[in-house]
Symmetry: C2
Subunit: 313 residues, 2 copies
């Protein structure tokens, strides 16, 4: 019954893997996640990140997480990071530093456990807040978080609660008599996101006369599915020759929107990092015969057109 709260795709992935690291802050969402995954028979390793801020409260969060892991009889790892120092050393905001430091800890922890999977407690409201945030920050096509997200550093983030309303997590915990720390935070006292959650979402709900969170999330899911479909379709077009070069007569016959996607994918596959729209457009512009046959890319690589093929040097 409780396992129904877990996304089936995430659950079957984790069951195949056998073990998973659970990021536990001590707050409602991650506490519910831990108990649900443990209850589903998975081998969990609890990983708590102490962010070196919030003093005694943070110490109490860490102690709470350790007790909880002990009570369940599962492995517990606590890592301390000095977020202010981490931020200062890298010129990052506290929020960004906290997130990056946390992923660094997760990388160490998963490596030690021999699994790439970290389960995170993001739920439906977090997803809607993320969609609004990315929409207003211009993060392009990916509006929402993915239930299963492969990061470039090899971590695989798994979010089995992404479509579950927070209220259902509260009800689950209260029904089981499981405690949580109301103020436990993941170290991101992010004013922007808080205001999106506490001001914008309720205003939208009032204006539209309905709970907009599931609707926003549905839009994000549809966009995500379209993105997956596009990736699969482009892979199936077979626009590369056996030497892994783009075969241009085929590419040039497509509309420019598809050319951009093909070029973007090709640059990523060739290991070009942070591929911007400007770079993609520049490469698209040398596809046609008669255009310049050579283009310098950021990072020292060179795109070259020769014998109706495009490749990187």
């Amino acid at each position: 019954m409780d396992a129904e709260l877990l996304d089936t795709g995430c659950l079957s992935l984790l069951k195949k893997a056998g073990s998973v690291v659970v990021g536990l802050s001590g707050g409602r969402d991650s506490v519910a996640l831990l108990h649900l995954l443990h209850g589903a028979g998975l081998q969990v390793v609890v990983c708590h990140v102490h962010h070196g801020i919030r003093g005694a409260d943070a110490d109490a969060d860490a102690a709470f997480c350790r007790m909880m892991a002990d009570a369940l009889g599962v492995d517990f790892v606590e890592k301390r990071v000095d977020v202010p120092r981490y931020a200062g050393g890298r010129g990052l905001s506290l929020e960004t530093a906290a997130r990056e430091a946390r992923y660094e800890v997760f990388r160490e922890c998963t490596a030690a456990c021999g699994t790439p999977y970290v389960a995170l407690g993001h739920h439906r409201q977090d997803q809607a807040e993320t969609v609004l945030f990315r929409l207003c920050r211009g993060s392009g096509g990916h509006l929402g978080m993915k239930p299963i997200a492969c990061r470039e550093d090899g971590l695989v983030l798994v979010r089995p609660l992404l479509d579950i309303p927070r209220e259902q997590l509260t009800a689950y915990l209260e029904g089981k008599g499981i405690p949580w720390r109301e103020d436990a935070s993941n170290g991101e006292a992010d004013v922007v996101r808080n205001r999106l959650r506490l001001q914008v979402l309720p205003l939208l709900e009032d204006i539209m006369g309905r709970d907009v969170v599931p609707v926003i999330n549905r839009s994000a899911r549809i966009a995500e599915e379209a993105s997956a479909a596009l990736a699969a379709a482009v892979a199936a077009l077979e626009v590369e020759d056996p030497q892994g070069r783009l075969y241009l007569p085929k590419v040039a016959a497509y509309p420019v929107e598809l050319q951009k996607v093909i070029v973007h994918r090709y640059l990523k596959r060739q290991g070009v990092r942070n591929v911007s729209e400007e770079v993609v457009l520049a490469v698209v512009s040398i596809i046609r015969p008669g255009s310049p046959a050579r283009l310098s890319l950021p990072g020292g690589r060179v795109a070259r057109r020769r014998e109706k093929r495009l490749f990187l040097e």
Copy 2:
């Protein structure tokens, strides 16, 4: 110089066509659009829709539009619709009725003029408002309006100002000394959209500390480009046999997200109207051998699998 305000794609399309119907309410946006298109040398026909609401004000709007067309020496068409009656007869809200009645007028007007093109004055702020509206209403993948949109009824909506800030239109009109009617409305006194524009967009701007309108529009443009790329890629996959049936061994090899897109496109091409996600999933479920070979669709059509092909009866 002024022509730079017009989207180049829209402008070249209209220049090829030669003539265009301009929907003129008398308000700032459509007045600017009319003068810009006329100034670019296009043959314009002004079409004003009198919505049968707002009494003397609406009459004054109509008279203003007629004067403006006369001053430019261009054809003028005024059509009256009784929106409250139109709404009552069809069980529509006033906003929906006003929009549908307006498109009906545009269809008549374009047919009489021998062009499918109607130019509309939507600008950058309208686009951002539409994105928020659709995001919260769950309209799926298409978050924004398209600069060039082909409707099923044959009308082609052209929006040459979609990426232009309203302030720039004001500056253009003031610079030229061109008057407009401040309160002229297109008949949609839409409370929801007004609140999105007047409450949500400013709140988001305050929270994000920047003008979010261009950022939201960029997200919409990227989503729209991805949608165009997906359509082109799926068309290039050649999943239909010469008889126009879906060849299933090929389709079944793709991930389910792509199968859904292929089936959705196929149903639309076969003339199935209002294809819902549920219908698409039901058809996807009979792709594999061993599943039921026959499925009734809404509207009396039947999807059938036979000899590794899927087709409609």
